[in-house]
């Protein structure tokens, strides 16, 4: 059952074995696994419930429907835009379907440096296998590589850079290109069309428009979750109360620690809300002479990993990924205003982008902000990361030119820097400084990190709180460090593992 609480109005009072907060890559998986095993499950999702039929392929209608704060969530200094899903299915509804397992060296790093005994590649295998089967993960076929991605590959190969065509979770893709606005065709195997209906079919009660605002715990463990029925403008339409023995917190690495801290739950390590990594990214636009229609086809299928070597250094590096946009997003990328800006927009069909995504060591924090649902996000790039991002920008420009772009538009504010082919790339900034370049994040993580030592971590290797019995975290919050790769499959696999742990321990947890 999936119910839109705003349509009914009024209050909700529920009781279940498990209350799952959030329905994205972590929450949906946990809910489905637990419900399928016979546990009674209630899912609270603060965002609305949309279906494929609601995805209109229009930016003005879809971007606000699918994003937290309508895409306007920012770090406290306004320097980084943080894009997270706010709907049933979470960010998997708008993501671009890269399907990577946790890099092996990162698994090893987390086990060895964070005391996660038994956290091995072999131990994770069953969860990866289940998740990949349910999401229908497969290699992207050669004929599915879009013209932009092909050109980027050509550019990378000319320069001798390492890269590869990735795997994805799409089925019968029609290559329309609207992945980021929600898939009208049901081809994207997001949580919305996989684990969420699977959970509902197994008996989970999934409530949209239900914002969790407080988790109550007593000595023996969690007792209930309180919240409100809310709309997109934050107006309250009713109250929510769910009594449960176990709570799975899967609201994302910003909202999960916010809820934890607002609830006044035990935080003996002081680590809840800390260690925030963002995978900050910066985009460089390329302009080709011929029409590319980069916004059509699978947006991201090629991946340049030349500048990250996790075996050698699991703490640092960056990757390059193609990116494209529809008119509004493209307009925002280009410099200036008025006729000068429009002259560039006339090249719209020949524009394609390449972004640098940083495996960041910079660490920020999330603290409760001005009110419910308004957490404050603090993050500052270290000098090392600022230089690495700038280095990545230079490599983006290099690859775009090698791929045949006539000019590139580098991300500097207030107006990006335009370079023609043959121009000196030395004109590009030597550091990416907050406030002087648009920086985005789609992968906030690590704010409730896993670890073997309760003094330095929040949850154990299965996502269970060291201090609050019955409370699990099943989202990107649990990553001990930056992941250094697209996180969808890791998040889902760790949530699967948490669910299996809950089931194995159920007699004890229910006691």
């Amino acid at each position: 059952m999936i119910e839109k609480l705003l349509e009914g109005g009024g209050d909700l009072v529920e009781r279940a074995d498990v209350c799952v907060i959030g329905s994205g890559a972590g929450g949906a998986v946990a809910a489905a696994e637990l419900a399928a095993a016979g546990r009674s499950v209630v899912v609270l999702e603060q965002g609305p419930y949309w279906t494929n039929a609601d995805f209109t392929q229009r930016e003005d209608q879809m971007l606000p429907r699918l994003f937290e704060d309508a895409g306007m969530r920012q770090t406290a200094d306004g320097a980084v835009t943080i894009l997270q899903g706010r709907n049933v299915g979470g960010s998997t509804v708008h993501n671009l379907c890269y399907a990577f397992r946790t890099p092996g060296p990162i698994v090893d790093l987390w086990r060895e440096e964070h005391g996660l005994d038994g956290f091995t590649r072999e131990a994770l295998e069953p969860s990866f296998a289940r998740v990949e089967a349910n999401l229908r993960v497969k290699p992207i076929r050669e004929d599915e590589v879009s013209p932009l991605n092909r050109r980027i590959r050509t550019g990378a190969e000319k320069l001798g850079y390492s890269g590869f065509v990735t795997r994805h979770n799409r089925e019968n893709c029609v290559k329309a290109g609207y992945c980021m606005l929600g898939c009208t065709y049901g081809a994207k195997q997001s949580m919305l069309v996989t684990y969420v209906p699977r959970a509902a079919a197994a008996g989970a009660r999934i409530y949209a428009d239900a914002r969790a605002e407080r988790i109550e715990a007593e000595g023996g463990g969690v007792r209930r979750v309180l919240g409100s029925v809310v709309d997109s403008a934050g107006r309250v339409h009713g109250s929510v109360e769910v009594r449960a023995r176990v709570v799975v917190l899967a609201a994302g690495a910003v909202n999960s620690p916010d809820l934890w801290l607002r609830s006044g739950l035990a935080n003996g390590s002081g680590q809840v809300g800390r260690n925030l990594h963002l995978h900050p990214s910066v985009t460089v636009a390329g302009v080709w002479d011929e029409p590319l229609h980069a916004y059509r086809g699978i947006p991201q299928s090629y991946y340049i990993d030349e500048f990250i070597d996790l075996e050698r250094n699991p703490h640092s590096g960056y990757v390059l990924m193609p990116i494209s946009g529809f008119p509004v997003l493209t307009a925002l990328t280009l410099p200036g205003f008025g006729r000068r800006h429009f002259e560039q927009m006339r090249d719209y069909t020949g524009i394609g982008g390449l972004l640098v995504l940083l495996h960041d060591r910079s660490a920020g924090s999330v603290v409760p902000g001005s009110g419910v649902g308004r957490p404050e996000i603090r993050y500052a790039l270290t000098p090392h990361d600022r230089r690495l991002l700038a280095e990545g920008v230079r490599h983006c420009a290099e690859v775009l030119f090698a791929a045949g772009a006539r000019r590139i538009v580098a991300p500097t504010l207030p107006g990006p820097l335009v370079l023609e082919r043959g121009d000196d790339l030395g004109a590009l900034p030597s550091e990416i400084v907050a406030g002087e370049a648009p920086i985005a994040s789609t992968h906030p993580q690590s704010t409730c990190r896993m670890g073997g030592d309760p003094r330095t971590s929040v949850v154990d290797a299965f996502g269970e709180s060291h201090e609050v019995p019955g409370l699990f975290v099943a989202d990107m919050s649990v990553f001990p460090t930056s992941l250094g790769a697209p996180p969808q499959i890791t998040t889902a696999a760790l949530a699967d593992r948490s669910a299996q742990r809950i089931l194995a321990r159920w007699p004890e947890l229910a006691g």
Partner: protein, 191 residues
């Protein structure tokens, strides 16, 4: 087990409105400047389609006119036969967008519009408001914001610019100008 579901009338959310502090201003510009980072070719905001219908609901009449004139210059094409902002629902679209968002994310936008209106007086020593200037003078005023040595002013420009682009390039009348074919709904997909 569901225990109870009771009907109740909606109530206003308990919202604390921030004052016009530097931080509040940063949040505001951050908001629309999100849109900038959407310069990252990623996401941004808006409101439900149904809300685009009807008269201004977020901005008052004066603010709506300031927004329209600022937008006319921000998206000027220089083409005689191109649509103008006033021919489209671009302003109504921005209004609907703002009306549909959490007030804590948009409450300083009217102030920002007033700042643009009085910008020529405050910064350019002109004795005229923005909406009373010629097209060329308005462009000059906007360029002053864009190139200002004051970072906050540049950020404000970016916020306003992005808001205008959101409104303008979501209008289907603008798509033929740049070669975008529009949504494929109801059409044969490329595959």
């Amino acid at each position: 087990m569901r225990l109870r579901r009771t009907a109740r009338a909606p109530r206003a959310t308990a919202t604390s409105y921030p004052s016009a502090t530097r931080r509040g201003f940063l949040r505001l510009v951050g908001s629309t400047a999100t849109l900038a980072t959407l310069a990252q070719l990623r996401a941004l905001p808006a409101a439900a389609a149904a809300r685009v219908e009807g008269a201004a609901r977020f901005f008052n009449t004066t603010e709506t006119e300031i927004l329209r004139q600022v937008m006319e210059r921000m998206v000027d094409t220089g083409l005689a036969d191109a649509p103008r902002v006033r021919d489209t629902r671009a302003v109504a679209s921005v209004d609907a967008l703002c009306a549909g968002l959490d007030p804590r994310a948009t409450d300083l936008l009217p102030l920002l519009l007033r700042a643009f209106e009085y910008g020529p007086i405050l910064f350019d020593l002109r004795f005229s408001r923005f909406t009373r200037l010629s097209d060329a003078e308005q462009d000059e005023s906007l360029a002053g914001w864009m190139k200002s040595r004051i970072g906050l002013r540049r950020t404000a420009f970016l916020a306003m610019r992005n808001l205008c682009f959101v409104g303008w390039y979501s209008q289907q009348e603008t798509w033929p100008l740049i070669g975008y074919e529009g949504p494929l709904l109801g059409k044969e997909p490329p595959a």
